[in-house]
């Protein structure tokens, strides 16, 4: 079985797992869910580091650094703003 097929298996199963977990998130938390998911999609930073590290030439280096910067906005900004929101949900 090739890498692509293994990747597809993983992709489909992860989608189903995500569906199961996220369907049960109450509507009250849908905005933090979205910004949190947004932070998770900042995982592209992993790809950006790999690309930047093996960059060959100026254009690739610039693209790699730009990708790292944008993914970091997602990661730092996403997790921080989600935390800020969730801290507001209090029970009195």
């Amino acid at each position: 079985m090739g890498d692509l097929m293994i990747g597809l298996y993983v992709f489909v199963l992860a989608t189903l797992a995500g569906r199961e977990v996220i369907t049960k998130v109450p509507p009250t938390l849908h905005t933090p869910l979205m910004s949190g998911a947004n932070a998770v999609s900042g995982i592209a930073i992993v790809g950006a580091i790999v690309v930047a590290a093996k960059a060959d030439g100026t254009l690739q280096t610039v693209l790699g650094i730009a990708a790292i910067a944008m993914a970091t906005v997602n990661v730092i900004g996403g997790f921080m703003v989600t935390d800020r929101m969730l801290a507001m949900f209090r029970k009195r």
Partner: protein
């Protein structure tokens, strides 16, 4: 060493799922977010260990800039502006994923027809669409351009042609037809993908924006997954899939909340200015009440359900509303807040605004949880909501037929706090305003709620 790195990636992917699972309750959600952040940290550490990094300077500069921008934005953003924030963050995520694919292509421009090439093109296309689509959505929500749908004749035909063009140029990039310069074709491909993102978002506007934001959220995940296929990294594939699933679920819920299909949202050009006869709107007589009368209605009953709409957030009257609720509770009134799925500008937006105003989360009720309670409710207080409480949704002839609504007209007394009798996004009149048991409480939500706070406080 390789196995060690893979194990850390696996742990990271697992913790993402565990973190998301904690979002199932407000009590555990904050810890869940922290777990997900830790999972991200692990994945980054594993990558840095695994990758032979020759020059750190570029990477550190990227992280410093991104961290600064993200951190400052996250601290400063107003809760009312969350839709824009999520919109632009989606765009950054999509762009980052696209750039990973682009950089891979530039490493081997004569890649030829094969799975690697196709994967790179898919990653570039999804990322590119997410990038421009999200920035356009941001511009619409931020008011940098009109928020209304922009439609023109032949739009759908143009979209179809563009899609075919993307496929053709993609094939040329991989050298399927021979003769074309792959690099030139690839740049054309990138341009067309970004144009697709623009055309995806311009015909959508007004009340449909939550659907677009959710959909682009899903795309940003799929873009990350595609980047994972490009560089052969499982943690990217898994995390991207989780986000893709999340965005898709929210998209479906938003469509359901408006009783419209995704295709209808994407191609319908609804929202903003619908062609409805508005000449009769506001011509019928209504019963009016001032703050004093409203306070008397609210202060001596057993149960009050508050229905907040986006007008409340626009007027920044959440805090005053919460004070009214607190005072009523001190008088022994049972107060609940009923939140419609599309009450804000993104899924769950209204709940965040009420949480910010210090409303306890166990008093926030969803449509399904609360809808059967209205017949046992003494007074419903609607603040700045319109279409989501319009009984016309039960009329099969209406433009909003079948849209799930809060059954507020079943309550013994309905008080509607609104600026005027003007229609909501659907552009139609609301029979609720003219019912026998309805009182209209006109004015600016913030001023009138402050007035109401004083009147309720002064009740004997």
């Amino acid at each position: 060493m390789d196995t060690m790195v893979e194990v850390i990636y696996l742990l990271s992917a697992t913790l993402f799922v565990v973190g998301l699972k904690r979002l199932q309750s407000p009590a555990t959600a904050r810890a869940g977010n922290a777990i997900a952040a830790f999972a991200m940290f692990l994945a980054i550490v594993a990558t840095v260990v695994d990758t032979e990094i020759l020059t750190w300077s570029g990477i550190l500069i990227g992280v410093a800039i991104g961290g600064l921008v993200g951190g400052i934005t996250a601290r400063r953003v107003e809760m009312t502006d969350m839709p824009q924030l999520v919109g632009i963050f989606n765009g950054f995520g999509g762009a980052a994923s696209a750039l990973v694919a682009v950089a891979e292509f530039l490493g081997t421009p004569t890649i030829g027809v094969g799975t690697t090439g196709v994967t790179i093109l898919i990653g570039t296309a999804i990322g590119g669409v997410t990038f421009t689509g999200s920035f356009l959505a941001f511009a619409k929500l931020q008011g940098l351009m009109t928020g209304d749908p922009i439609t023109f004749p032949g739009q759908n035909i143009l979209n179809a042609l563009l899609f075919l063009g993307v496929l053709a140029v993609g094939a040329m990039t991989l050298g399927a037809f021979g003769g074309q310069d792959p690099l030139t074709m690839f740049y054309v491909f990138c341009g067309l993908a970004m144009l697709m993102g623009v055309l995806l978002v311009i015909p959508i506007g007004g009340a449909d924006m939550p659907v677009v934001i959710s959909l682009l959220n899903s795309y940003s995940g799929l873009a990350a997954s595609a980047a994972g296929f490009v560089i052969g990294n499982m943690v990217l594939i898994i995390s991207g899939a989780l986000v893709g699933a999340s965005g898709l679920i929210l998209t479906q819920l938003m469509c359901k909340g408006m009783n419209r299909s995704l295709a209808n949202v994407a191609f319908g050009g609804f929202g903003g200015s619908a062609n409805v006869d508005r000449s009769q709107i506001g011509k019928r007589p209504v019963k009016r009440a001032d703050a004093e009368a409203v306070a008397l209605e609210l202060g001596y009953v057993n149960s009050v359900v508050v229905v907040p709409g986006y007008g409340l957030a626009v007027a920044q009257a959440q805090h005053e509303l919460r004070k009214v609720g607190d005072l009523l509770e001190e008088r022994g009134v049972d107060v609940k807040y009923a939140v419609h799925p599309v009450a804000g500008r993104m899924p769950g937006h209204m709940n965040v605004l009420l949480a910010e105003a210090d409303v306890s989360y166990d008093k926030l009720y969803d449509l399904e949880e609360v809808n059967d309670d209205f017949s046992n409710t003494d007074v419903v207080l609607i603040v700045g909501a319109n279409d989501v409480v319009n009984p016309a949704a039960r009329d099969p002839e209406s433009i909003i037929a079948g849209m799930p609504i809060l059954n507020v007209d079943k309550a013994r007394r309905v008080i509607v706090m609104k600026r005027s009798l003007s229609p909501g996004f659907a552009g139609i009149d609301n029979d609720l305003f003219y019912m026998d048991n309805t009182l209209m409480f006109f004015g600016d939500a913030k001023e009138q709620m402050s007035e109401l706070v004083r009147e309720v406080r002064d009740l004997p």
